[in-house]
Symmetry: C2
Subunit: 393 residues, 2 copies
Amino acid sequence: MNIKINENYKNLGKNYLFAEIANRVKKYTSEHPDKKIVRLGIGDVTLPLTKSVTEAMTKAVEEMGVKETFRGYALENGYDFLRSAITKHYARFGAAIADDEVFVSDGAKCDAGNLTEIFGDNPVLISDPVYPVYLDSNIMAGRKISFIAATEENGFLPTPEGIKETGAIIYLCSPNNPTGAVYDRRGLKEWVDFALTSGSLIVFDSAYEAYIHGDYPHTIFEIDGARECAVEICSFSKTAGFTGTRCSWTIVPKELKAGGVSINDMWRRRQTTKFNGVPYIVQRGAEAAISDKGYAECLELVDFYMGNAAVISNALKEKGIFFTGGTSSPYIWMRCPNGQSSWDFFDTLLNEIQVVGTPGAGFGKNGEGYFRLTSFGSREDTVEAVERLKTIL
Amino acid sequence: MNIKINENYKNLGKNYLFAEIANRVKKYTSEHPDKKIVRLGIGDVTLPLTKSVTEAMTKAVEEMGVKETFRGYALENGYDFLRSAITKHYARFGAAIADDEVFVSDGAKCDAGNLTEIFGDNPVLISDPVYPVYLDSNIMAGRKISFIAATEENGFLPTPEGIKETGAIIYLCSPNNPTGAVYDRRGLKEWVDFALTSGSLIVFDSAYEAYIHGDYPHTIFEIDGARECAVEICSFSKTAGFTGTRCSWTIVPKELKAGGVSINDMWRRRQTTKFNGVPYIVQRGAEAAISDKGYAECLELVDFYMGNAAVISNALKEKGIFFTGGTSSPYIWMRCPNGQSSWDFFDTLLNEIQVVGTPGAGFGKNGEGYFRLTSFGSREDTVEAVERLKTIL
C-alpha cells in the first residue's frame, strides 16, 4: 500500500509498559512451568463485584431479554440515571456538578487517550513518573511534551514553581499512580492558580479517590477556580472492581472555553461521533456501585486492599526500605535495594522469587530506581509475596 | 484558557445527524404531548436479546460476583474465546482469519472513528450517501475528502472507474447504510483490484452482513487480494440486537503494510494504549450470539425485521414510489414524493402523520431527495407507520 501512516507512532516505545511485563512473565513461565508466580504488578483488582452490582446487572440482563424492557442505543454520554448518580457522588465531597457535565465512558484510559484529539498543538506537561497513557497518547498526537519532576525531594508532589509554559495541557493524578502521593488542598490550589494565570488546562485523574484516608480532596472540583481550568477523569475500576466490567466518567465543566469554544460541546461532539455509549447492563451495575448501599460495599473492598497495603508497608519498614504510598493509595512505591535499576530489580524478583511488580522506570525517567507494588492481590498472595521479598531485601 | 483547540472541528456540521433528528422530535413531542410518534428513523433494533445471549450473560454476571471466577482486565483486543468464535464465524463464509487479526471493540462506530488516527495525511474517498461517521471522523482529522457518487443511475453501487487518487483510504459499506444496496463479488472485486493497483486501503463496513439474502459476499475477505488492501469492521449490533449491549470487531490482516510498517501492529498499539477491552460479561454474550445455536436465533431476529421490510416495500410498490433496499438490508431507501427535499419530507412526516424517518441528505449530497426507513420497529409500529404513510403518498 502507498498509504501514509501516523509517523508519530514511530516515536513510541516498542511496547505499552504492561504488555512488556506480560511478555517477560510469559517467557519466564513457559521456561519454568513449575514455578508459582505471585503478581503484585499490574494494578488489577481481584475481589469480586459487590452484591449490589451483580444484583443490578442480573436484573438488567433480564430486562434486555424481554421486549417491553429491552434497550437499544443509549445516549452516548450515559443514561440519565447514571449521570445523576455520579453528580450525587460528587455531592459527597461538596462538589456541585451538573448532569450534562458528566460523560460516561468505558474507561479512564480511553478518555485520557481520546481527550488529546479535541485540542490543538499545545505544550503538554506530564508529571514524571506517571501512568503511561498520558505520555503515549500525546506522543501519538505529536505534541511537545515536558515533564514535571516528581522526586523524593518534593515528596513526589511537584509544584508549578518555575514552569514557563502557558496555554499548556497539564496532567495530574492524585492519589498518584504510581507513587501513591496525594495532594492536599493547598497543593492542588497552587496548580489551579497556576493553570488560571497561565491559561492552561488541567487534566485531573482521580481514579484512586476512593482510597483516600485523611483530609485530602477527592476531586479537583473541591478547589475554587477548578471549574475554569480543569477536566476530571474518574473510574469505577478501582472503586468498584470494574477493571473487567468497564465504566468510567469524565467531568467537563461548562465554564471551560478555549478561543470562545466550549470544551464541553467539543467533547460531546467527539463522543457522539466516535463513541456509542456504555452497555446498559454495565451502567446499571455502575449506578448500584455508587448508591449509598453499594458505595459502602465498595469501601469494604477498599478496606481489604488497604489491609494488603499495610502488610507490604510493614515489611518494607521492617527492612528499612524507603517507600511512599499505601495510605491513601493502593500502590506502594519503593526504592529498589542496592541501587538496582527498575528493570534489573524486576528481573531479580521474577527470576529469584517469582514475584511480579512494575518497574518504576516504566512510568518515566524519575521512576528509575523505584518499583511499584500493588495491594490488589489476594491476602494470601500478598503475604506470600512479602515473605519472599523479605528473603532478598 | 489559552488552549488551542482542534480547529478541524469547526468544519463539522453543527450536530451529528441522529442528534439533530432527536432534537426535532423532542421539540415536536413537547409541543404536541398528545400525539403518538412512530419511529422508523435511527437504525436501532427493538427485539430483545436472544435466549443464548441472556443465558451466557447471566452466567457471566454470576462469575463476576465470585472470587474464584472473577475477571479483571482482559486483553484489550478481546478474550481468546471471542476472537476464536469470530474466526469461526468467518469460516461460515469461507474466509480464513487468524485470531490475532481480530480486534474486539465496543462499537463499529468507535473503530470507524478511531481508525483514522493511525494514518497520515492520505486522500479519503467516501461513498455518498453513507453513514456519517466516516465523514465526520475524517473532517475531525483534517483529511482531504472526496466523494464517490452513489446514485440511482449506478444503482447506488459506484465503481472505481474514473477515480484518480492513489494511496487513498476508501470507505465502503455493503449492504449499504443507508441505501440497502449490496455489492456482488464482481463489484467488490473491482474495488479490491483498484485498491491494489492504486496502493489504497479499503475500510469495509459489513455491519449488515447478517441481512444478506442471495449470493452476495458477507465479508470482503471472500474476495481474492482483499487481505493485501482491506480492513473490515463488523458488529453484533444489527446481527444480535447489541445496539445497547456494545460489541463489535475489526479485522486487520497481517499482510497489510504501509511504508514497511504493519497496520495490524499499529492498530494493536493504538488499542492497547487508548482502549481497555470490552466487558467480560458482554464478550460472553457475543460469543453465545455467534455460536451455532445463538446464530440461528440471530437469524430469526433478522427474519422478523425482513418481514417489516416487506410491509414497507409492498406499500411503496403499491404507491409507485421508487426505492432500493429491503431485501439484503434492514433499510428502505425511498425517493421523496413530489420532489420534496429530504428534510422537508422529514418535517412533513413528523408534523402530519407523526412518523420519524431519516432524511437522506443527512447521509450526503447524493442523499438529497431521498429518505431512509428502517425495518427495526415492532410489527405493529411498522404497520401503523405504513398505514399513515399511505395516507399522504
